[in-house]
Symmetry: D2
Subunit: 141 residues, 4 copies
């Protein structure tokens, strides 16, 4: 499963079609795109934090959803519009202050559905702070 | 199952302990608190919208998570701190422009876990745009 | 949303295409089929029980999956083959001995996906012992 | 995270406390127990098959639930009783005839909750046929 778009191409596309993801400040970056996998970084600002400097649950859900979209786009290309149909997330540990990285793997890239597995961890940390699976409906291509 | 806090008491508490939920503008309101149930409204602003004026998936996840928290707080009271452990959401239809309302019901309020069922719909609409279930860990009380 | 098959027609179809659901004994019955809704009963035998006479988790998952299938078949008719793509279940309380009834509602019956909400309770009981949501992929029709 | 029970000790315990899992024939085996991980095999019989010799969805749910239980028991020991509170499963591909193996990893082993990630694949196959996450409530220990 080879990617057909690079990280900066995907970010350019997101900037164009979903400018709103940057409405609260430019906090997302694509760290890597590999065969079947992508990593997206959240450099949280005050919109994403809870008391104590910990990243909020909804911010982690948004990160998982975006990172899942990135790994799918990377492998189906820019012409196709995918929409989330299901997201399931388990919150495992309270994140420490600092960037969070969501690493998503394609479990399936089918004709109609793509299923993605995402682990979220602090930079350089091994223990996950959250784990999500997401399903996207992908258009015929 | 009788609520022990009213909507405005809960909103005061949220303002105090989670002021960040209003960091992007004051968009959430508690419409009602009933036995075993609560309804929370999202009056979306530009942070929550996607092209075409439709509310984004992450905004619906954040709304479901908040509304689940509200119904739990309403029934366990202000002294207790609950944290989300799992959230599962199905996106059913693209929302039309306008306010969204998440109506959450307590499926279980146990000693350790609370489980909540949430339907999200446009105001006055019958068809759900999303459906979520959430589990919160609740402290001993 | 009107059903196009009755309960006994659906059970005849299941007997024909999935005779294996009865391999361990005839334990499932369709209690009702209504617009957008169906109820399926499990009269558990020793295959489904755990110590103390309580129905096992896997038996409740199987019941939810079957009942979701029944409500979908009831509304799309016999020509179509639907397959489960996702099932999420929360176990809420230990069931007491006796029949369990899964009541499933169609949250969405789309061109490609059907999403169903299922509550499982003991006969005549109000409190749910488990709650599930299931997504089925439905063929073009 | 070191296991405190071996595979055959766990199977002896299951035989004693959950003899019902073998009520339809002895189909489960524990292939391996490693730090943070365990693999459980299903040698399906007629109770688990669908037309065409493919393993049914409910059989995969039961396998994921059992394998998640095995990896938790392996790390908390025999004195503790854990119960499933949530299971979420995505069905990815139709399994080919033959044994299925569920490989489960502990994502978290907390004081109150354990969260497990499970991939199910045919023997020697790389592509998963299903992926599950499960949460167990674990007793104080």
């Amino acid at each position: 499963m080879q990617p057909v778009m690079k990280g900066d191409e995907i970010m350019d596309l997101l900037d164009e079609v979903f400018p709103q993801i940057h409405a609260g400040g430019r906090v997302y970056a694509i760290d890597s795109v590999l065969p079947g996998e992508a990593a997206v970084r959240l450099s949280a600002n005050e919109l994403h934090l809870r008391p104590g400097g910990t990243v909020s649950g909804p911010s982690m859900m948004a990160l998982a959803d975006l990172a899942a979209y990135v790994v799918i786009l990377a492998h189906i290309g820019p012409e196709a519009l995918a929409v989330t149909t299901n997201l399931n997330i388990n919150f495992l540990r309270k994140p420490e202050p600092g960037d969070l990285i969501a690493t998503c793997r394609l479990l399936k890239l089918g004709k109609r559905l793509a299923v993605v597995d995402c682990g979220i961890a602090g930079e350089g940390q091994e223990d996950l702070v959250a784990h999500a699976t997401a399903t996207y409906s992908v258009p015929p291509r």
